[in-house]
Amino acid sequence: MSEENGMSRRVMLVKLGILLNAIVGAVLAVPIVRFLFSPVTREKKFGYESWLSLGGLEQFPAGQTRLATYRNPVVNSWDGETADIACWVRNVDNQTFQVFAINCAHLGCPVRWFPQSSLFMCPCHGGAYYQDGSRASGPPERGLFQYNHKIEDGRIFIKAGEMPTPGRAANTKPRGTRCA
């Protein structure tokens, strides 16, 4: 075998070796990518949301808006208190309820309810909302996020489990009821 032939065989072996590594790399990439994207793919498979009880209706008197908390349905033991989520429950007339996310529709800061002036105010950038959740002033582009809710056996349930954000409001009505 000539010198040149020997070289070209070794070059080919190097190339084969690289090819083998490339194939193994591609095969390994599949589980790695699936692992990395599991927070996204899980949503499609099981969904993050479920119906949760906020407690008996007696905690939410008619005409008032009260803070309620729930434990997030998808939870790990090391989540600690971060899995406790707050929301605002408005009992309009014992028939009609509204459940607002705590997160401002601007950038997610916790809005506070001021019963005296019937406004929600955000401490971050000064967003304000009327009692029905519609936008009153400030930088938010829309009203407060609302959870779907139902009343069963004297308890109020909401469909929750995912942090509402401006770009993702699938579980939330796009707007509160009309402006006050």
Partner: protein, 490 residues
């Protein structure tokens, strides 16, 4: 001494590094670069090394778990001997590092160091700025308190606005549906493994290029950079009149780095560690989240952008900024280096500095946010109720009870979201006051549904008294004519 020398030789025979280290240390640099203006790059590297050491020390105790992180920070602050000091060093070290990286960047820009053949050094420098800011942001999340929690919320809200993939990007960023254990874990991985790894790689490439291409010479007005001749000119500058880097230039780097470390330690001792603030419990809503110092300008910007322009500016603005920075050496790779002959460069720096400074200042006292407790903690100044009628005083009560004070200041106390009302009666007539209160507008909520007619009457009665005694109130001339009154009647 002989023994030390022998040991040194034993190692060098095996490592074969001595010659190249000596060569690197003694490589000639242009005489004028042994300057106090050239010390910021090495100082940034010194800060980074301090961050690595203190970061490892903190990792001995810190628990990157959403349920335990806050408690482990408390233990660091209070339970472990000098744990507070290590935290303070790490926190102040990060502030100094960002500041020095920015100063370094400004110096490099004004001295034209990004021009041929150092374009790639600048590009890697921009990447270093980005990863440094990435360290600052993820580090703020390691301090897992209320600010970190809601800061993540702000981050998620911004990410969610990316068209099409926004909702998935949020899940990916948070590691799940909400800010929780998985979120802290992945930001810990970023802060401790991924970004420092990138930082080390970029620093190595950056330094290698500085050594191989040589430090940028002191810019002289009129000495023009041309691709054809620059390498030759630089070689002459270094080899004919250059000085060895060690010790002629390096002593200033060493002295300055020492002062920086001393300053960090002094700040750490005097001011102590940063937080942690309140527990990261999202059901505690009595909180006003603030980002760390270097992101305050962004926080301010977010409150001033008009709602309709916010999403495009938030998503496209940073991309444009980064592209401009990366592209700079490619459209300004030749020409004048001296800042004395580059007025637009100087003006750009001044403009950016003034803008960032103003935004940061505003971010510190947040005039756009209602003062949430002003209605119950800031009384109406006595001169505004003294000698008023019962109706007007009742109006002052309405003013407090309906939280007007949260957004409107009286005598410089209260919110600044809306205009100060000390002289509102000079600007608005009674009818205009009623309309403004009931219908709102100009960024004020409408109070029509929340005020009874009696309350509105009382409130407007009070507002009408808010003017300097020596000046006449606003009046509606047409109304006066229509009612057959003279101006002095009102």
């Amino acid at each position: 001494m002989r023994l030390v020398q022998k040991i040194g030789e034993w190692f060098d025979l095996r490592l074969q590094l001595g010659a190249s280290i000596r060569e690197t240390a003694r490589h000639p640099v242009p005489r004028e670069t042994a300057s106090w203006f050239y010390v910021f790059g090495s100082a940034a590297l010194t800060c980074f090394m301090l961050q690595i050491v203190t970061g490892i020390l903190l990792a001995l105790i810190y628990v990157p778990s959403a349920g335990e992180a806050w408690n482990s920070l408390q233990t660091l602050n209070h339970g472990i001997s000098l744990g507070w000091f290590i935290r303070a060093l790490h926190g102040w070290g990060s502030n100094f590092m960002v500041a020095i990286v920015l100063i370094h960047m400004v110096q490099v820009f004004l001295f034209g160091a990004y021009k041929f053949p150092r374009e790639l050094t600048w590009v890697v420098g921009v990447l270093l700025l980005l990863v440094t800011l990435g360290m600052a942001f993820t580090g703020q999340i390691m301090r897992f308190d209320q600010d970190a929690y809601w800061g993540l919320g702000i981050g998620a809200s911004i990410v969610s606005r990316v068209p099409v993939i926004g909702p998935w990007a949020v899940n990916l960023m948070l590691g799940g549906p909400i800010i929780a254990g998985a979120t802290l874990s992945r930001f810990f991985a970023l802060h401790v493994f991924v970004i420092p790894g990138l930082l080390i790689v970029f620093v190595c490439v950056h330094l290698l290029m500085v050594l191989k291409l040589g430090i940028n010479e002191w810019p002289m007005p009129g000495r023009i950079v041309r691709r054809a001749t620059y390498m030759q000119e630089y070689r002459e500058l270094t080899h004919k009149q250059g000085i060895p880097f060690v010790p002629s230039a390096v002593w200033k780097d060493i002295v300055f780095s020492g002062f920086v470390l001393l300053a960090i330690a002094a700040c750490a001792v005097y001011f102590g560690p940063f937080g942690p603030g309140g527990q990261p419990d999202p059901t505690i809503i009595q909180t006003a989240p603030r980002p760390d110092f270097f992101f305050l300008w962004l926080y301010a910007l977010l409150s001033f952008l008009p709602p309709s322009a916010e999403t495009p500016i938030l998503l496209i603005g940073p991309a444009i900024g980064i592209i401009v920075l990366l592209a700079l050496p490619f459209f300004a790779g030749e020409g004048e280096k001296s800042w004395r002959r580059r007025p637009i460069a100087v003006l750009t720096i001044l403009l950016i500095a003034v803008a960032l400074g103003t935004m940061t200042h505003l971010g510190q006292h947040t005039p756009w946010s209602p003062v949430m407790d002003a209605w119950s903690s800031e009384p109406i100044p006595s001169q505004y109720v003294h000698g008023r009628t019962a109706l007007e005083r009742q109006g002052a009560l309405v003013f407090q009870a309906k939280q007007c004070h949260n957004c409107h200041s009286l005598d410089d106390r209260g919110g600044e979201r809306g205009p100060a009302l000390d002289s509102v009666a000079l600007r608005l007539t009674e009818d205009q006051l009623i309309r403004q209160v009931i219908q709102g507008g100009g960024n004020m909520p409408a109070y029509g549904k929340n005020l009874s007619p009696a309350e509105t009457t009382a409130l407007v009665g009070f507002l009408k008294t808010l003017r300097p005694a020596t000046q006449v109130p606003a009046r509606d001339a047409s109304r006066a004519v229509a009612l057959g009154e003279t101006a002095t009647d009102r």
